[in-house]
């Protein structure tokens, strides 16, 4: 009799706490969940709908009436044949293939120089981080000014060349390409530097000493201990830069507007232009969806691989 009463008293309190906690947890995460829903689910559904039509805001009808302009998968087949899209995509990949490794190697080199303590380390470190904190649009304008035919870059080159240099950087397709890449490398190398240095500093010093005592040279230690132990961080740094670089818009658009012609038109600039200039939003929706789905698949795959290897290793 007594035991029952005691038991009856204890249990509800315990359940009360868990239920309360769960309810609280749910309501705490609710705002975030709603916002994600708002920005992810509705837009995708909307885009799926619009992408199957030939709608444009110029048509004078509201978007939900776009079914009147139904054209099935025509947008998608057009997309497959759209040279401008594919060349923009290719260009974006090319930019990535140049910028990310360059930023990585420069960042790694800087990290190696900053691992030891030396006078002025903290100050120089802060200074080197500044480019990364400049508003990208403003950085784009900075480099626009730098690469003017009458600008500082030509001025410096003239100094080294001995005669006046008046290269029209931003009017030449290849030179403009180089200039935008330079602006990206300038702005984001500090990010690589920041992340890689944090990772490098975390390599246990005792292990490095042990390796030295066993006769290993600096390069051997770097190759066999520092780099392997930085593997995760290196992957994270590269992943972050690849993702952000793929999305690049601000500084490229301000520097060249995607030009001359389409010489510096990345995928984001392409989508922007078709959205604002040609206004064929049905088509743009199709493009957007294709990109979203490919990115979702690739990222889900990569994340699964990463968590699998994290569990194994």
């Amino acid at each position: 009799m007594t035991a029952d009463i005691l038991e009856a008293k204890v249990e509800p309190i315990e359940h009360e706490d868990t239920r309360d906690s769960r309810r609280l947890g749910f309501s705490l995460t609710l705002p975030a969940q709603l916002l994600v829903l708002f920005i992810a689910v509705f837009p995708i559904l909307m885009q799926i709908y619009i992408s199957l039509t030939d709608w444009s805001p110029l048509d004078g009808i509201s978007w939900w009436q776009a079914h009147r302009l139904w054209n099935g998968f025509a947008n998608y087949t057009d997309l497959a044949a759209d040279d401008r899209f594919w060349s923009a995509l290719w260009r974006t990949v090319l930019v990535m293939a140049i910028c990310v490794p360059a930023e990585f190697l420069l960042g790694l080199g800087l990290a190696i120089l900053f691992v030891d303590n030396f006078p002025g380390r903290r100050f120089l470190y802060s200074v080197l981080l500044v480019p990364m904190m400049v508003v990208p649009a403003v950085a784009g304008y900075m480099f626009f000014m730098l690469f003017q035919s009458g600008g500082p870059v030509n001025d410096i080159l003239s100094f080294f060349y001995g005669a006046p240099v008046t290269i029209a950087w931003l009017s030449d397709p290849d030179l403009a390409f180089f200039a935008v890449i330079a602006s990206d490398i300038w702005q984001w190398t500090p990010l690589m530097f920041l992340i890689l240095l944090a990772g490098m500093v975390g390599v246990p010093e005792d292990q490095l000493r042990a390796a030295t005592l066993l006769g290993a040279s600096w390069t051997t230690r770097f190759r066999t201990i520092v780099l392997p132990r930085m593997k995760t961080i290196i992957i994270i740094a590269l992943a972050i830069r690849v993702i952000e670089n793929f999305k690049v818009f601000d500084n490229f658009y301000i520097m060249t507007g995607g030009g001359p012609g389409v010489a510096t038109e990345t995928i984001s600039i392409y989508i922007y232009k078709v959205t604002q200039q040609e206004l064929i939003w049905g088509y743009v929706a199709a493009v957007a969806l294709v990109i979203l789905i490919s990115l979702s698949v690739v990222s889900a795959f990569a994340i699964k691989r990463m968590s699998q290897s994290r569990e194994a290793g």
């Binding site: 000493r209 042990a210 030295t212 005592l213 290993a216």
Partner: protein, 362 residues
Amino acid sequence: MTAIHLENLGKTFSSFTALRNMNLEIADGEFVALLGPSGCGKSTTMNMIAGMIDPSEGAIRFGDRDMRGVPMSRRGVGFVFQNYAIFTHMTVYENLAYGLRATGVAKAERDRRVRDMAEFLHLTPLLKKPAAGLSVNILQRLAIGRSAIMEPAIFLLDEPLSNVDAAFRAVMRTELKHLQREFRQTMVYVTHDQLEAMTMADRIAVMDHGKLLQVGTPIDVYNNPSSVFVAGFLGSPGMNLVKGKGVESDGIKRVDLGEAGVSAPLPAHLSDSVPEGASVFYGFRPEHCELTDGEGLRLPVTFVERIGARTIVHMGSDGSAVKCVFDNRVPVRTGEVVSLAIDPSNVRLFNAETGAAIGGAN
């Protein structure tokens, strides 16, 4: 050949002097323990032998080779870190092979030596396993093997047993000693645990506050400590030190120990060195006490610790606080006043001001 000579070694960091006037000769094949509390300079000394830090003054010689300017990677020194510093991102095999690979030993020979070492250390079944997550016991053997495979003339160990739980420590002590005999290397072992030093070392170098206080065989240092610090540091519990004054009556020198009474007559070699009225510490080891019914020091029992085979009896208070160790059958009770007899040959005297031992060795 592989003797170590530390000559007037010293190290100062900015404002802090970690080590001063360190002179020590370590013979080839000898196992020397650097023993002392935290901050005594033992790790600093060892780091300088290894080449991790440069001396501020003095010299280090391996044999007749001056090691100044010789970088860490070329000293031919084996080093076992306190946390072993195992390369946890590699396998056991790769850890063992690391030094050989780094110094360009050919693959075939490397393989042979790794397997031999693994065999010797009973690590063969683990060769392909990642070094991360292995037990401390295995890691210790791996750490030693990784260094030993390079056949260094000198082996340095920095408190390797401090991360091991008490149960294993005894086992590991024996293993380490066995390994040292096998490899016949000169070994320098840093520790703050006097039991470790006593059981494993050929000689012990006791250090405190950056100075070398005494060097000798374990028995030597235990029986004839050169200062109150060494006397108190070795042994568990350490030597009892009761403050007293030299007194003379009828031509016989004794020590007046205040409340405890007056001691038994001092042995000859000590009585000559104690002037009348000199302030001394009267020292005797806890295991050298005997309870008598007759003459002796009179002390009240304050606390009795019965810990299995031994019983530690705490007596007296303040200046004459004393601990004695008896077997577990001793019939004492708290509050009782007992009479303590100590064989004069087991008595040691120390200058109360300087702490230095008085009189020659026994």
